[in-house]
C-alpha cells in the first residue's frame, strides 16, 4: 500500500514538473529581457481586448507587440523609448495609467472632486439637522407672553 502511494506521489510530482516546464515563455532565453518585457507589458493595454493588459492577452496583436517590445529591449532601448514608440502609433490609450494632461484631468481628479463634494454635502446635512433639532429654552419675554395669552384665554372662558 505504501509503495503504491509512493509511486502515485512520484508520478504526480513528475506531472507537475512537466506542466511547470510548459508555462515557461516560449522564447524566454534571457530572463532579464523577459522580466522587463513582463513589467512593461503590465503597464500597457491590449487594444483588441481593451480590459486586458498586454501581458495577459493572448490576442494576435498582443503577441506581435510583445515581440516588438522584446526586440527593442534586446536592441538596448530604454523603457521610456519603447513607451513613446507605442504611444506614437497607438496613442495614450495604450497606457493603462494615462498621463496627467488637460484631457485626462477629469479622469485623474474627478473622483477627488466628487469625494470632496460628497463630504461637503454630508457635513452641511449633518449641521442642518443638528441645528433644526436644537432646543431653545424660553426666555423671560417668552414666558411673560405665554402667561399673558393663557390669562386672556381663561378670562374669555369665565366671561
Amino acid at each position: 500500500m505504501k509503495k503504491l502511494l509512493l509511486i502515485c506521489f512520484v508520478i504526480l510530482s513528475l506531472a507537475v514538473t512537466v506542466v511547470a516546464w510548459d508555462v515557461r515563455p516560449a522564447s524566454g532565453d534571457d530572463p532579464v529581457v523577459e522580466k522587463r518585457l513582463m513589467d512593461l507589458s503590465k503597464e500597457l493595454r491590449c487594444l483588441v481586448c481593451q480590459n486586458e493588459t498586454l501581458a495577459d492577452s493572448q490576442a494576435g496583436l498582443a503577441e506581435d507587440l510583445r515581440r516588438e517590445i522584446r526586440e527593442q529591449i534586446k536592441a538596448g532601448k530604454s523603457d521610456q523609448e519603447i513607451i513613446s514608440f507605442l504611444t506614437q502609433r497607438y496613442g495614450q490609450f495604450i497606457l493603462y495609467r494615462p498621463r496627467v494632461t488637460p484631457t485626462t484631468y477629469l479622469l485623474w481628479f474627478g473622483p477627488f472632486v466628487l469625494l470632496i463634494g460628497g463630504l461637503v454635502v454630508l457635513f452641511r446635512y449633518i449641521r442642518y439637522n443638528r441645528d433644526s433639532v436644537k432646543e431653545e429654552p424660553l426666555n423671560s419675554e417668552d414666558r411673560r407672553r405665554a402667561a399673558e395669552l393663557l390669562a386672556s384665554d381663561s378670562r374669555k372662558e369665565t366671561a
Binding site: L47, V48, Q50, G60, L61, D64, L65, E68, T87, Q88, R89, Y90, G91, Q92, F93
Partner: protein, 178 residues
C-alpha cells in the same frame, strides 16, 4: 421645490453623460497618426512577391491604404463596397494584406474580386504596427505629401465614404492641383 432642484440637475448631468456614452464605440481609439507622416515601408507585392511596393512611391498622389486579411470577417462585409468604390476611380485603393497566408489571400481575391491597384504583403504585421493597426479592416487616406489625413477603424460604410472620404479626397486633389 427648491430642495429637489439640485438632485434633479445632478441626475440630468449624469443621465446626459451616460446617454452620450451609449452612442460611442469604445473600440474607436483616436489615432495619433492623423496629420502625421505615413510611416515609410517597402514590402513585397502579394501577387508578384519579386516586386516590391513602398509608400514613398506614392508621393504626389492622394491614395487610400486599406488593411485587409482573408481571416478578417468584417473585411468580407466591406469588400463589395470597396469594389464599387474602386470602379468609380475616384481615388486609387492600395491593399495592405495583414498577417495572411499568401494562398489564402490570393484565393480570397480570386473569389470575391480585387478592388486594389495592388496589395502589399505584411506577413508578420510589422508595418501594421507602425500604422497603429489594431483591428482589420482599417483605412487610411494619405495625401500628396505623404501625410495621413483620415483613418477609418472598421469597415468604410457608404455613409463614411460619401460624407468623409470622398469630400476629403476631392478637397486634397483640388489643393494639390493649385
Amino acid at each position: 421645490m427648491g430642495r429637489y432642484l439640485i438632485p434633479l440637475v445632478l441626475f440630468m448631468v449624469l443621465a446626459g453623460f451616460l446617454f452620450v456614452g451609449l452612442n460611442r464605440d469604445p473600440h474607436e481609439v483616436p489615432s495619433p497618426l492623423i496629420n502625421k507622416a505615413a510611416p515609410a515601408f517597402t514590402l513585397p507585392q502579394l501577387k508578384d512577391p519579386t516586386k516590391t511596393f513602398s509608400a514613398q512611391e506614392m508621393r504626389g498622389k492622394v491614395w487610400i491604404l486599406n488593411v485587409w486579411a482573408s481571416w478578417c470577417v468584417t473585411c468580407r462585409d466591406e469588400h463589395p463596397l470597396l469594389l464599387e468604390y474602386a470602379k468609380t476611380r475616384a481615388v486609387p485603393i492600395y491593399g495592405l494584406n495583414y498577417k495572411d497566408q499568401r494562398p489564402d489571400a490570393l484565393a480570397w481575391l480570386g473569389e470575391l474580386g480585387d478592388p486594389y491597384v495592388l496589395s502589399a504583403a505584411d506577413v508578420d504585421g510589422r508595418v501594421a504596427i507602425d500604422y497603429g493597426v489594431y483591428g482589420a479592416p482599417e483605412t487610411y487616406v494619405i495625401d500628396q505629401s505623404g501625410t495621413i489625413r483620415f483613418k477609418q477603424i472598421g469597415p468604410v460604410t457608404p455613409d463614411v465614404w460619401s460624407k468623409q472620404v470622398l469630400p476629403l479626397v476631392q478637397d486634397l486633389n483640388r489643393k494639390g492641383n493649385q
